[in-house]
Every structure is written in structure tokens, then in C-alpha cells.
Subunit: 307 residues, 2 copies
Amino acid sequence: MSILVVGSVAFDTIKSQHGVAEKIIGGAATYFSLAASYFTDVRIVAVVGDDFTSVHENVLKSHHIDTSGLMRAPGKSFHWGGEYGENLNEAKTLFTHLNVFENFDPKVPPQYKNTEFLFLANIDPVLQAKVRRQLNGVRLVGGDTMNFWINGKRDDLMETLKLVDVLLINDTEAKMLARDSSLPRAADKVLTFGPKALVIKHGEYGATVFFRDGAFGLGHHPFRAPALPIAEVIDPTGAGDSFAGGFMGYIASQGEVTREVLKRAMFYGGVMGSFAVERFGPERLQSLQRDEIDERFRVFRELTHLS
Amino acid sequence: MSILVVGSVAFDTIKSQHGVAEKIIGGAATYFSLAASYFTDVRIVAVVGDDFTSVHENVLKSHHIDTSGLMRAPGKSFHWGGEYGENLNEAKTLFTHLNVFENFDPKVPPQYKNTEFLFLANIDPVLQAKVRRQLNGVRLVGGDTMNFWINGKRDDLMETLKLVDVLLINDTEAKMLARDSSLPRAADKVLTFGPKALVIKHGEYGATVFFRDGAFGLGHHPFRAPALPIAEVIDPTGAGDSFAGGFMGYIASQGEVTREVLKRAMFYGGVMGSFAVERFGPERLQSLQRDEIDERFRVFRELTHLS
């Protein structure tokens, strides 16, 4: 089944101890859709400027990503610049040129209306809700957000959360959203805001999914998927979006959305996140083979499997 | 089989948002031996002062911990005072009165010489080595250390590490010891210092064991055990020592030391650490039933188990 993602398609300029990458293709929707493309058909709703050429669009198209929802506006594409120091978990933003993204008004093309799986990448919660409301037949909605919206547009975000089935955020965001410093307690609180499942990403320590009691199956026990210990992280940009792409892509590829499917999806999310950080930008995600993904899934499973 | 632990038996005064506990029994060897006592016979080598009464000693004895190696010296027992703020991962030390511990010269009683499993809790690496050399027939040596020794007695510590089979430390200590900011790379380096296996404890994110290639079995894949998400951590004091007690205690209870035994031991370590933090001091470790331990082991396993 196909999945639709709405979010940013952008350019990134990234500096780290491993080098510099100038104006390479990036954005949450790019990482998400490349990662998801290994599992299912992907459709994208985003806006780009004049500087986004057919060469750039072909990065997506060559992965059979449907770009008919990629709107073009006069001006330049969203361009973000960031630098990573010793601590690869946190980027220092050098510049944020929103450009055409500033007036992004996402529209779902008519041929996308039958979409069954939807991912609302990290954009203004008002726009997330607007997209969600354009899709009536959707079976599962995943969503992301960040501190900027949690603090700056809390009321709007709370409305959007009522429309999201699975929220994917990190530890800091979960605690901030719940206003609680205990992670499990924060998770319980967030699950009263709307989502039936909450995926909290712990960076190099993996991710935990918390379920609302009875959602997607019996019980309420959380489930934790590990992250692969990676000796040399080259560029952590897009790791979270790649996790979401693997997670949602795998779910969309399955016939039913059960708790067991969500658990396996946690592993595929971790797998895609671990590939993303091995090269600058989405480079590694562009050149994967499906058997490499399955092999790493096996390694991840071994990492926590007791016989 | 029995396990011998050498380390501190002390008093702790602990402040946290959940209250204050004045001069309660503590120390690494106390937490370790209580946790290990649920799995195997435990022997202890430590020093206490006049203020350590038979009431205190009975906390250990009532768990069938052999205290014939508990030396008594004139003066007061080691007494540590600490305070936990919002961040429960780090204690602010209020005072450290070494007292009789300052001149601790550990001696292994003759009846302990046949000990097959040994744990060198966090004390001066010179003393750790001295104890290790008093035990010739030992099958497996576990050890702990901390930043104080890594920075202050590095050369002595490096000598001691040659005598340790399994080292248990946390993320920060591993990076400091290896002088490398990448955890997997730090792990590889530490494994060249002597230990055949390295357990890195990640606090609320669980723990990972890294193996020297071929040690305890084939391959070199690491293994990660989760930590239980605990809503209300009352007192994190002793969590690491309780992990070590569950880990080493389970290993000593098994006939052979295989990689599969070490993996299961990682889960038992996490289980005992999770119990330790539920009450002030070692209170929870004093009142456990074996079936509670097995039930939590099952929950831990569920937490990462894909069917």
C-alpha cells in the first residue's frame, strides 16, 4: 500500500569533523521518502523553488517516489546550514533560509486522495492538520514535531495530536510536550493527548514504543528496539526522518497494523536510521539494496535476542 | 558456585525529591552482595568501623552472605552523603568520610581461597590487583572502576585491567578510559587493555556487552539488554552495583560461562538494577522473592522480543 508524506524538501549545507557538504538535497520528506521507498510506494507533498532542478527531482523519481505533489514556487528552496561538533547528537544551526517554504500551503492532489498511510513530517501543526483533513480514507497517521512547535504553537499542536495515531519524537521533545521529566510518565501523558502509540527515539540507544492500553492489540507493555553501535557516524542529519521512513514504510507494506507489525517496524526504523548516518546527506539511502536492509535487520535482532 | 566480592560496606546519607535517608547501610559490596545473593552463595571482603553493629551485619547475614571476611577496624565506617536533583543520573556529593576505609588493606580469609568467581568492586586498582593475586583458582573475574581512578591512577588501573575478565563501567567511564568519544570504538580499545568482555551501562537505556573476538564463544557481535522504563525512580544509589550483582551472581549460578550465559546475565543485571532504584538504599533488594525476579526477567525479555 502507498504512503503519503508531507514535509520539507530542501537543501542542506553540513559541516562536521568529517568534512563539508554544500547545498546537498535534504529535508525531512526527502529522508523519509527515500527510506520508505525500500518498502512501499511513496507519494510526496512539498514545495521547492527554481533551484530545485530535474536532477534533484530524479533523486526521488529514481526511487519510484511519486513527485506529482511536489509544488514549485518562484524563488529559492528551503536551505538549512548546520554544524556538528564532538557531540553528534546536536547540530548547531548556522543559518535557516525558509525561502519558498515560508508560504508553504500543502495541497493533496486528487490522485492522492485514496492514500491509506500518511506521515506528517515536522512542519507547522496547523499545516499538518490541514493535510490530515484532506484525507478521509486514511488508515494510519504518523506524525513528528519539535521543540519549536511544542513551545511556540502548543494549542495548535494539541489539536493536531488528536488526528495522529502514532507520534514519533525524541526524549527531550516527549518530556517537553508532557511537561514531565520522567520519560515513562511523559509517555503515558502524551498518550492521553490523542496518539494510540508513541515512539520515543533515544538516538544511539535505540527507540521505545509505548502503547495506549489495548491499542493495536492486547496489553500496554512498551517495546524497545536497539540502535546499532556505529563506530563512525559521518552525518546524523535525517536520522530521525529515516527512522520514520523505515518505520512507516514497513507498516504500509504489511496487510494489517498489529502490535507485532509495529514492533518489527521499530527494528526497520532503526535499520534505516543507522544507514542514514553512514554518509553525508541521504547518499547512503540512495544506494541501498534490499538484502543489505534485511541483513542489518538480522544483526539488530541478534543484538537483543536471547535463545 | 560461590562468588567473592571485595569493596565498600558503608553508610549513606541520601537526599532526593522523595525524601531523606540518614546513615542507612550502603556501599558497593553491600548492593552487589544483596543482589547476587538471590542467585548464588556470596562471600564478602570489606572493612567497617565500630558503628557497624550486628544489626547492620544481619542485613547481610539474613541473605546468607558469608561475612567472615568483614574486617573491623577502630573508628567509624565509610560514610557518603549525596543529593539527587532533577537529573537522577548524577549525584552531587555532599560529603565523603572515608574513615576506616582510608586504610583498607583487603585480606582474603583462608576459607575463601577456593572461590571460583570474583568481583572487584570500585576501589583503588592497587587493592583490586592485590585481592586478585590472592586467588589462584578463580575462573572469572569481574571488575568495576570510576573516573577518579581512570584519571588519577591510570597506570595502576591498566595493570589491574590485565587481571579482569569482564569489566563493568558506564558510557562516560568507557570513553574516558579509551580516550575516544565514539562508544563502539572506545569499547574496542578497552578490550585491548585486558578484559575479554566489556559491559557498558547506559542507565535508563540499558546496557551493552562487547566481546573480544572469540571470547566466550564465536563471533564478536555486541549484545544489548534493555532497562525497564521506570516511572518513579526513588533512589538511583547502588543501581550499577546491583546490576553487577545480578550479572555476576547469575553467571556464578550457572555451570559454564558461555556467551549465552553472559547474555542472560545482562538481563538479570538489568532486573536487579531496576529493583534497586524503587526504594531508598538497598531496601528493595532486602525484601525480594525469587519469583518477582523471574517475572521481571520475563517482562524485560518481552520488551525486546520479536516473535
